[in-house]
Amino acid sequence: MEVILAFGLLIGLLIGGMWVQFAVAGAGLFYLWMLKGFSAWKALGIVSWGASNSFTLAAIPLFVLMAEILLSSGLSTRLYNGVAPFMRRLPGGLLHTNIVGSGIFAAISGGSAPTAAAMSTVALPELSSRGYNTRLVAGSLAAGGTLGILIPPSITMIIYATFTETSIAQLFSAGLVPGIVLALLYMGFIAVRVTLNPSLAPKIERQATAGELWSALLDIVPFLLLIVVVLGSIYGGFATPTEAGAVGVVGATLIAALYGRLSKKLLLDALDRTASMSGNILFIVFTSMIFAYATALSGVGDNLVSFLEQAEVSRLSFLLIIMVVFAVLGCFMEGLGMIAIIVPVIFPALIAMDVDPIWFGVFVVILVELGQLTPPLGVILFVVASSSDTVKVEDVIMGTLPFFAMILLFMLLLIAFPQIALFLPSVTLG
């Protein structure tokens, strides 16, 4: 009963327009009070300390800062122009640049919004003016943007790891292959769609010369080096994700300096935005830890295990139920909050059902991806739409629909073949 009231209050406050963090904290305090009266608040101090005093969580501000430096130096244009000549030959031409560019940017940023913003600001006005179908351009950018949280480094995965005590390195490793497969699926779809309907993209007559390809490669190399250093150090076991984030910040600063974009103002702006963005994310984790403390105290996770056992719910049915719950909650709640609130409740049931926590981490991140493409809270839809004055949110939504269906299909594929996610961690990290 208490859990229903607590979740009811949480959803009520969220729909009403309360700040998500305070809605979670308020519902958490109310939940604790219902369970054990005001005496349950006695542990708030020590729970607060445990919720924030974390070396692992330091990776979040560091990855945010790395992406902010690259984003504010305007280097996404260089990355885009570097990838473009290699994609010209494919049916759909520059539309593939949206996906590959997003994939590369995803590997140097921890989130989807910066990835979508980095590519959209460059590609949306450019491709629309060249005669590409606006909806397909917007859809490919939105879909490409979601790769930001699947392809490591991923802030969403760090938060999942914090609540489930799983290895961030293993999660980062598990996200890579699904991210690449999903990107290839997107590209395959674009190629087929444009082949069937050539009016969606202009035909590119002139292919890039060897000189142009060489010059383009030079534009991408610093980004690829940064990816190798950041991800290579994690996969190779040389650095923790936090250390890789710090090294990434230095690398991003060097790249900005290399291209003559580094300035005092750029760094101060990046620090300012990182502080508020990190505070926003870390404060959600903080308040969700209070809520998770209440759910642990109530034993709701164990009750769920007993209920599922009695009801003889199969593993597949449970996963499908989780997909529906995330889809519904996604209408009121931001992705990170959803993970922080729901995962601690369902995690004991997942373990009881023998679901691999690393695999589930990838699964849940893709669920959050779907949420980012679903109105009314689809963050990516708004990021892409705000990149151009001529593109409406409705265009982005319509353009995103086929990609949305592909993500759903991919999730079923992931359920059927868990090795898509689990193969790489077993090879690289044992």
């Binding site: 070396f55 910040v249 903080f286």
Partner: protein
């Protein structure tokens, strides 16, 4: 989110809405502090990674101090995000309400947020006093008296509460001015 992006763009031009120079000064101090902590984190964590990788030597205190930095960034960063109006929020229903109802609801939320801050200030203050009176130390190389970094918790919530008060003041001014 689009609203948040627009807000950030507007703030680049004008800065966030202010209830007075005291709040501007507080915000500037928080920005300075969080910026300094971020830079310190990068230097500290990089140095640790470099020394361990190159010389197989560890500073021994990097993890501990970095974690204290996270405590600071969590609460002071949240205070900054709150003041800049970019804390996550779902506005669909709120935006469809009549203006008067929006004002009342907004004030109610500010008061609730303030009450939550007071609970956390009170409880985290108890933690600091408990650590101080029991002489608790971190079981690390630095053996930091725990009450020192733990002070970040109540002080962070004080800053959050102050910026909630600022929002409340701005709302009250709007109501009085009939806007």
């Amino acid at each position: 989110m689009k609203q948040s992006a627009n807000k950030l763009e507007q703030q680049k031009e004008n800065g966030p809405a202010s209830a007075g120079p005291v709040f501007d000064l507080l915000a500037r101090s928080v920005r300075l502090l969080t910026g300094a902590v971020l830079v310190a984190l990068v230097i500290l964590v990089c140095s640790e990674a470099f020394l361990r990788g190159a010389f197989n030597y560890s500073l021994g205190f990097a993890e501990e101090v970095t974690a204290y930095g996270v405590v600071m960034l969590t609460l002071f960063g949240a205070a900054l995000a709150l003041r800049q109006g970019v804390l996550f929020q779902v506005n669909i229903l709120f935006d469809s309400l009549p203006r008067r109802a929006q004002m009342v609801l907004r004030c109610a939320f500010y008061l609730l947020a303030l009450a939550i801050c007071v609970v956390f200030i009170w409880k985290t203050k108890d933690l600091v006093i408990s650590s101080f009176s029991r002489g608790k130390f971190a079981p690390t190389v630095l053996q930091t008296p725990l009450w020192v970094p733990q002070l970040l918790l109540p002080s962070g919530f004080v800053f959050i509460a102050l910026f909630v008060v600022e929002k409340l003041l701005l709302s009250c001014r709007n109501i009085w001015a009939g806007r």
